[in-house]
């Protein structure tokens, strides 16, 4: 099973900081997803894309986790040379996480 089947994600940016929310479709999967998706796990998953620390904020009543990833956007929308300067597409790569 992949994260794609149990949760949906959305990515946003502020400067060089990217945040990705992960929300489960069914509250039953919240514990399973929270246990696996630690900040350390997310940092490792994104590899050299995320140079800074990753912080996680939990919103169990919404079945959601919010990951805030520092130094993650090659300088951010106002100075990056990347195609996707906002990093809007980044969250989608989490959907491949296996369970």
């Amino acid at each position: 099973m992949k994260l794609w089947e149990v949760a949906h994600v959305r990515t946003g940016d502020k400067g060089n900081i990217s945040n990705v929310s992960v929300t489960v479709y069914d509250p039953e999967h919240f514990n399973m997803v929270s246990e696996k998706l630690t900040p350390e796990f997310i940092k490792k998953w994104f590899g050299k894309q995320v140079l800074g620390e990753v912080k996680r904020y939990d919103l169990p009543q919404l079945g959601a986790l919010n990951f805030v990833m520092y130094d993650a956007l090659g300088g951010g929308v106002t100075s990056s040379t990347a195609l996707d300067k906002h990093g809007k597409t980044l969250g989608a790569y989490l959907l491949d996480i296996p369970f």
Binding site: W4, E5, H8, R10, G12, D13, K14, G15, N16, I17, N19, S21, T23, Y25, W45, F46, G47, K48, Q49, K55, Y57, L59, Q61, L62, G63, A64, N66, V68, G74, G75, G76, V77, T78, S79, S80, T81, A82, L83, D84, T89, L90, Y93
Partner: protein, 445 residues
């Protein structure tokens, strides 16, 4: 109990207009807010104003207002927008003129000014840049714009003076929506819970279609109906701050607890401490409840006191980006694209000027995220080369190098494109609120 309905007319500077007009026609709205000013947009507008003092407001302002003003007049809907960008005064004058041309009488247009401190940015040169932790003076470039994210104050004042159309410069996105709530319900500016609720409502609405199923669909698992005809959101709220978010019935998209949750956390860091000019909002206990299909009730938002400072975005010119792209197709296309990449990299190394942040990506393989394995074969791939330089001419070299692959590179390169862009970067600093003087100007046609 008094209720008001606020619609969202735009989620960014270039957004669609039809959904806003639909809302104004059929949404039974009291207010509609158009958000059109991203972090860097204001700096671009300041640059436009420098080149021509009559410009510097949103390019689509008059195109939008030509359709919006008659509906606002007919249905008694007040319009609030930050499309004044770097020149709200000129925007106000132009909109008032347009109202006259359209034959609309007694429309009071207001401009909120005071966010622009470009002229005295040198006073703050020792302030710490939030992004880098270094003093602003370290940037050592021409700091050509400085705009504070103002809160709801100026807009509330304009509403109290019966303005119909309110045009601002840099105002925090949720504050555009919070202002009518403060005015209509006479909420105290220090009622932090209410300020938090109003800020949450603003946050849900500020990206328009992103709350109604835009930036959401994923065929097979997250289906969104009639996305081509996406409706924009509206909120109905009472003076206790209770209410729901919905969209018009005959439009595409959907409002669900899932779309609302995604939007609630969009570009938020710590949900318990979301800093805005009006308050420190707390979204950590927010819940959503489906009342009916596409009608979602919200509750649980709260807030704490605002900080004593405004965040100021300082714009500066930061060199140029040169970019070139070219495509390869058919068998062995990845190998040919990689050969093309190697050629460009070698040639750029020999140029007599520095290039920073050079990226050579294969679009279709690793341009968005580069952590997986290279696939063995695909049907087509596109090389993208981009780098930063000090001058425009230098940036042009990068773009040209990719184009020369047509006749000098591997077999079958096609569809080459090139572009050169000036980089406008932003540094953020905090400036005491007391240093600002917010004023409202009026023009009645």
């Amino acid at each position: 109990m008094k209720k008001i309905r606020i619609g969202s007319g735009a989620g960014y500077a270039g957004d669609r207009l039809e959904p806003a007009l639909e809302l104004m026609e059929h949404g039974n709205l009291n207010y509609i807010c158009f958000e059109g000013l991203a972090e860097r947009t204001i700096a671009l507008a300041q640059k436009a104003k420098k080149a021509d003092p009559e410009k510097g407001y949103n390019d689509l302002l008059l195109y939008r207002m030509e359709k919006v003003l008659p509906l606002a007049h007919k249905n008694k809907i007040k319009v609030i927008t930050n499309m004044g960008a770097a020149n709200p005064k000129k925007a106000m004058e132009e909109v008032a003129k347009l109202a006259t041309t359209l034959g609309l009488k007694n429309l009071k247009v207001a401009a909120v000014i005071g966010d622009d401190i470009s002229h005295k940015i040198q006073d703050y040169i020792r302030e710490t840049v939030i992004e880098t932790g270094q003093p602003l003076s370290e940037i050592n470039k021409d700091l050509f714009s400085a705009n504070a994210y103002l809160g709801s104050d100026g807009i509330v004042e304009a509403l109290s003076n019966d303005a119909d159309i309110i045009i601002t410069g840099r105002v925090a996105d949720p504050s555009l929506f919070l202002a009518p709530l403060l005015y209509e319900f006479e909420w105290e500016k220090t009622d932090w819970k209410k300020m938090g609720i109003g800020t949450m409502i603003g946050h849900l609405l500020e990206c328009a279609g992103q709350a109604t199923g835009g930036y959401f669909a994923d065929p097979g698992i997250k289906e969104v109906p009639d996305l081509w005809n996406l409706g924009f959101p509206l909120v109905e709220v009472n003076d206790a701050g209770e209410g729901f978010i919905t969209k018009l019935e005959n439009t595409g998209g959907m409002v669900t607890t899932a779309t609302c949750t995604e939007q609630l956390l969009y570009e938020i860091h710590d949900p318990e401490n979301y800093l805005t000019p009006d308050c420190t909002a707390d979204f950590s206990k927010v819940t959503f409840h489906e009342l009916q299909k596409d009608i979602i009730e919200f509750s649980g938002a709260s807030g704490k006191s605002a900080t004593a400072t405004y965040k100021v975005s300082v714009g500066y010119l930061n060199g140029f980006i040169g970019e070139g792209q070219i495509s390869y197709g058919g068998p062995n296309c990845i190998a040919r694209a990689l050969l093309a990449k190697e050629i460009v990299e070698k040639r750029l190394e020999n140029l007599p000027f520095p290039i920073s942040k050079l990226r050579c990506d294969l679009i279709g393989i690793n341009s968005l995220f580069d952590e997986g394995e290279m696939p063995k074969e695909i049907n087509e791939v596109r090389l993208r080369v981009a780098g930063k330089t000090n001058t425009k001419e230098q940036a042009q070299f990068i773009a040209n190098e990719v184009e020369t692959l047509y006749t000098n590179g591997p077999y079958g390169g096609g569809g080459a494109t090139k572009k050169v862009e000036e980089i406008i970067s932003i540094a953020s600093i905090l400036v005491p609120k007391d240093d600002f003087e917010i004023n409202v100007l009026y023009k009645t046609n």
